[in-house]
């Protein structure tokens, strides 16, 4: 159904991060928001994306924010970097979604929801590390990888899933020995993202726990956050609720804190 060669070919086709993006990231990393904004202004797709995301209701701005330097200024270094990372991930989006009933608007909404709530979680945990902030941006890449690898196998997968409730991650691992999150890690490497980003996302898969207690703890929060979002009606209808397995036991010890933070009653 899916072979290792297909995965290699998928990874190979992923373009390296554009120079303008790399430069924007470098400057953001150095805390030079104004210079970073100037470079970002030159990338019209990035500019449009940032405007689109930041003006979503979840960010809560009363007036439309359209200037990139203004956006970076409001978001600060960590969140600006996270937003640029989010944009990089959208570069993998298909022109037309086949497997999941998604479109760019809905996908951006998922990114925005995850990012904003990840910020709330990190504030609550007292964490202020730009790479940890950025790590949430790699998580939705798992959805894009699933779409890319399984879009042509939709009928086979549906047939398989009438008999056994296997998630895409398990199917991929059993066929090829790699998980969706391993592929996300390969993408992160190709885009020269910090190692800690992919480590947290691996832990967030819920199946590959980290030996580092802190990373594992962040992975649990991210895993639960992912399923909190994927339980929203629009994402259930898009077919995302069961694309990977939810590991209830894995998040058992942080559930009460999460429920309190998100106001779940």
């Amino acid at each position: 159904m899916i072979t290792k060669n297909e995965i290699d070919s998928f990874i190979e086709k992923i373009p390296p991060a554009p120079n303008a993006l790399k430069e924007t990231m470098r400057l953001l990393s150095a805390g030079e928001l104004i210079r970073a904004a100037k470079i970002a202004e030159g990338d019209l797709a990035l500019k449009s994306y940032l405007k689109h995301i930041v003006n979503k209701p979840i960010y809560g701005f009363k007036n439309e924010v359209s200037d990139i330097s203004q956006i970076f200024g409001i978001l600060g270094v960590s969140l600006s970097q996270q937003s640029v990372h989010n944009y990089m991930v959208t570069l993998l989006s298909p022109k037309k979604w086949t497997l999941f009933k998604l479109n760019s608007k809905l996908f951006y909404e998922l990114q925005a929801n995850l990012s904003k709530k990840w910020e709330i979680i990190l504030n609550n945990l007292g964490i202020d590390d730009k790479n940890i902030y950025a790590s949430i941006s790699l998580l939705p890449a798992s959805i894009l990888v699933t779409e890319a690898l399984f879009a042509q196998k939709k009928d086979d997968i549906n047939l398989l899933r009438t008999t056994k409730a296997l998630d895409y991650n398990t199917v991929l691992f059993r066929l090829c020995g790699v998980t969706l999150f391993d592929i996300c890690e390969m993408i992160a490497k190709k885009w020269e993202m910090d190692d800690s980003i992919s480590q947290i996302v691996q832990a967030a898969s819920g199946v590959k726990h980290s030996s580092d207690e802190n990373i594992n703890n962040l992975g649990k929060w991210m895993h639960l956050l992912l399923f909190y979002e994927l339980s929203k009606p629009q994402f259930i209808e898009a077919g995302l609720n069961d694309f990977v397995d939810f590991q209830v036991e894995y998040v058992g010890d942080i559930y009460d804190d999460f429920a309190l933070l998100m106001g779940i009653q």
Partner: protein
């Protein structure tokens, strides 16, 4: 969201959070329609991967349950929960529980009709005395041996002695049950338990798919345990007469045991006898009499007189059948299938050792049976995707092989539907060796296709 169907149970597995806002999204109109028309014993919602639910969240599924029960008689409910979730559901619905609660899916299987999970020793405890009895009766009707304990202390104590039981049931609640007719297998006979008033609903309650499958795979003796029947009307009489006629085609025998005619017209007995149904007073009159069992056909699974031959219609669609099997195995093994030979003949299996087989029947616009025969090595490889590891556990391999042949059946159904041919598939059956397969299909002619996957050979056989 569509349910997964296995062993006569359809299971939905929502993940994450269930509340009033999102549960409607799990069940689209098409999903509800498809679920209502499923021919299964039970429709359950697994709460295994649900971290949070409230009453509004469960209510949507309960509305589905009500719709299902209006259309068919499947048992409905929730499964796979811990004690906390169980207590929450009981609290939400208190005395108004019209659905069932099974602590695990494995426990639910004990209450469904299936070739498997028969004659298990089951330890039962419920604080509700009527529930204890209801669970015990249902399990007994399904051919299990219930061991009821009267107190939590006794249950905890007995639960420690794991060698004395196969399953332990607690935190389980039976809502409206017994709508489907309980089925159990004893040797080569199938026993259906019927009770109360038999009327037009018998045709909904009786799992005809299971029955057809049993006939197809070689069962020849069907016993209706009718001790608890109060009376039957003319609709039920017609149903049983038709059942007897179709059984005659396979040279099968249908018996009634313990049926009393004080509230049912004696003339019904004559009509049923005329259509070939036999009456016995006690179950032991049949099961304890080896001579009689032999005479009734229960000693040999291959006692078919009216064998049917492969017809033109089947041959025309043959490429689709082969394609469905080949594509499925290709999908499961990530390898390419090569057809080596094909001919109409009796099944010929060279080197019968270390081979397993599985079969699935189809009926509707066309009917027949597809049989796949694997060397154990390929069976293991083909099932690796379903099992997740390389295993030597034969029970697990055969179980997965049944799932695999079910996928093949599903593919056949889809491919034929593209041509406007409507068929249903029966439950799959597996055979742990070639001998037990040959007992069923001995001397039947069919189309045999030898396929090769990366040099490993496997057989496809299509017969009627």
């Amino acid at each position: 969201m569509r349910p997964v169907v296995k062993n006569g149970i359809a299971t939905f597995s929502p993940q994450g959070f269930l509340d009033g806002n999102n549960t409607n999204s799990f069940l689209g109109i098409e999903d509800v329609e498809a679920t209502i028309h499923l021919n299964v014993d039970m429709i359950l919602v697994s709460l295994k991967k649900v971290v949070f639910f409230n009453k509004n969240g469960l209510d949507t599924f309960i509305k589905l349950f009500i719709q299902i029960r209006k259309k068919n008689h499947a048992t409905v409910g929730f499964c796979d929960y811990d004690n906390k979730k169980y207590a929450a559901i009981r609290k939400f619905y208190q005395d108004d529980i019209n659905f069932s609660l099974f602590k695990t899916l494995e426990i639910a299987y004990l209450f469904s009709s299936s070739f498997k999970n028969q004659s298990k020793n089951v330890l039962i405890y419920s604080s509700d005395r009527s529930q204890r009895s209801a669970i015990a009766i249902e399990l007994h009707d399904n051919g299990h041996n219930p061991i009821v304990v009267q107190s939590q202390e006794e249950y905890d104590e007995k639960k420690e002695k794991k060698e004395t039981f196969d399953y332990a049931i607690d935190s389980t609640f039976l809502g409206q049950m017994g709508q489907k007719i309980a089925t159990r297998v004893t040797g080569n006979a199938i026993i259906y338990t019927i009770s109360m008033f038999l009327d037009i609903e018998i045709s909904d309650k009786f799992n005809i798919e299971y029955h057809s499958n049993s006939l197809n795979v070689g069962f020849r003796l069907f016993i209706f345990d009718a001790y608890k029947v109060i009376s039957m009307n003319v609709h039920a009489l017609n149903f049983f007469s038709k059942l007897a006629s179709s059984a005659a085609e396979y040279n099968a025998t249908i018996c009634f045991v313990g049926m009393k005619f004080d509230k049912t017209p004696e003339s019904f007995r004559n009509t049923l006898e005329d259509s070939g149904i036999l009456f016995y007073a006690q179950m032991d009159d049949i099961l304890g009499n080896k001579e009689l069992l032999k005479e009734l056909g229960a000693s040999s699974a291959a006692n078919v007189k009216n064998r049917r031959v492969i017809n033109k219609e089947t041959v025309l669609e043959l490429p689709k059948f082969i394609n469905a099997a080949a594509v499925t195995i290709e999908m499961m093994t990530n390898s390419k299938a090569v057809k080596e030979s094909a001919s109409v003949q009796n099944l010929v299996i060279e080197n019968r050792d270390a081979k397993v087989a599985s079969s699935i029947g189809y009926y509707g616009d066309m009917d027949g049976m597809v049989i796949l025969i694997f060397p154990i090595g390929i069976a293991k490889k083909a099932c690796e995707l379903l099992i997740g590891e390389n295993t030597d556990d034969m029970e697990l391999i055969l179980d997965s092989l049944a799932e695999l042949v079910n996928i093949v059946g599903g593919k056949i159904k889809t491919l034929l539907l593209d041509e406007g041919i409507n068929v249903n598939i029966t439950l799959p059956r597996t055979y742990h060796d070639v001998k037990s397969l040959l007992e069923v299909i001995e001397n039947r002619k069919g189309v045999q296709v030898d396929l090769s996957f990366n040099g490993d050979k496997f057989l496809f056989f299509l017969t009627r």
